[in-house]
Amino acid sequence: MAALINIPAKAKRGDIIEIRTLTSHIMETGFRHTMDGTLVPRDIITSFTCRYNGTEIFRADLFPAIAANPYLSFFTVAKESGKFEFEWIGDNGYSSTASASITVE
């Protein structure tokens, strides 16, 4: 599934940087019905994790009240050059990952 990640390509050690993520997912609430009254089952992303060179720096539990195509932005202190890894996990065995690199001077 497509994901858009926005982090600065470069930062100075100690800078507080914003990490912005956007991923495609229908986030079906489980509260909607079809025209003939059948309940549409829940199908959402339930958890999002961000690791910075292997260490978890941010985690989120998501519920049906999070809008479709979830957008999440958060902050972290730029410590060292390396990789951010993002993982989205959800209902029905959903799993999606993305990554982005940063150079820290």
Binding site: A2, L4, R20, L22, T23, A67, A68, N69
Partner: protein, 259 residues
């Protein structure tokens, strides 16, 4: 000097199209963008937070995917979309010689699939068709719309204009009643826009996904309790043609975000 000014003024008056009753003067036209609140505008302004861009990304991937018995990708004929598709969406719907009528960008994509890639058409409003048309239209972002310049389109623009002016549905409303006569007022809390289709296909918060102009037109028709035309119907194509030519000169915004 005075003569020159008079000649230029006369030429301008002669060539500018006469305004029909209720039509918005060209310099008073505003994109739906200007009717939205700052938060929704911010969503559109930033490519990394615009959910429509997820579909543009998908479209970019589809552009290079080989399909059909011809085993061809769009890229095989059209190369880099960034240059080959620049300025294309702004002249759609365009006249198709073989069909003898205008076709929308979605229909053009399906014609290419049939004629050149030898593969089945993508269903209207399918994720793949939306992604491809979003990707193509996005290459024209910032470019002024030129639709309707072709004189072969005149009878179809006229058909579209008549549909726009015609009262319909149980609520007996014509498009013009809201979108020419009452824009800037509110309907059930939401601002009424001028209906300028500058950002299609767009991410509508109500749909929570990307959708085409035809989807929007069909939901407007349902809104006035009229039976909506089927996707791809000649009436919808004529309406889109009229709307795009009404917006001629305004820049494309695809993928726009709207409430």
């Amino acid at each position: 000097m005075i003569f020159w000014r008079a000649i230029v003024a006369a030429a301008l008056v002669a060539t500018s199209p006469a305004l029909l009753a209720g039509e918005i003067p060209p310099d008073a036209r505003r994109s739906g963008y200007s009717f939205m609140g700052p938060d929704t505008r911010a969503m559109q302004d930033d490519d990394s937070s615009n959910p429509g861009m997820l579909f543009v990304l998908d479209g970019e991937a589809l552009w290079t995917k080989k399909v059909g018995t011809a085993d061809k990708a769009c890229a095989d004929c059209h190369g880099d979309a960034r240059s080959s598709m620049k300025g294309v969406a702004v002249r759609y719907p365009a006249f198709d010689k073989a069909q003898g009528r205008p076709v929308t960008l979605d229909q053009r994509i399906n014609l290419c699939r049939a004629n050149h890639q030898q593969t089945a058409p993508l269903p209207y409003e399918s994720r793949d068709l939306l992604a491809l048309s979003a990707f193509v239209a996005h290459q024209s972002r910032g470019i002024a719309i030129t639709t309707g310049d072709d004189p072969q389109l005149n009878p179809f623009v006229e058909q579209g204009r008549n549909l726009f002016m015609r009262r319909q549905g149980q609520l007996n409303l014509a498009c013009t009643n809201c979108h020419n006569d009452n824009f800037d007022k509110r309907l059930a809390g939401s601002p009424i826009t001028q209906a300028q289709p500058t950002g299609y296909p767009l991410y509508r918060l109500e749909w929570q996904t990307l959708g085409s102009l035809e989807r929007r037109l069909r939901s407007c028709m349902t809104g006035v309790r009229a039976k909506a035309y089927d996707y791809g119907a000649p009436e919808l194509v004529a309406l889109e043609l009229y709307l795009m030519s009404r917006a001629r000169g305004m820049p494309m915004e695809t993928p726009a975000v709207r409430p």
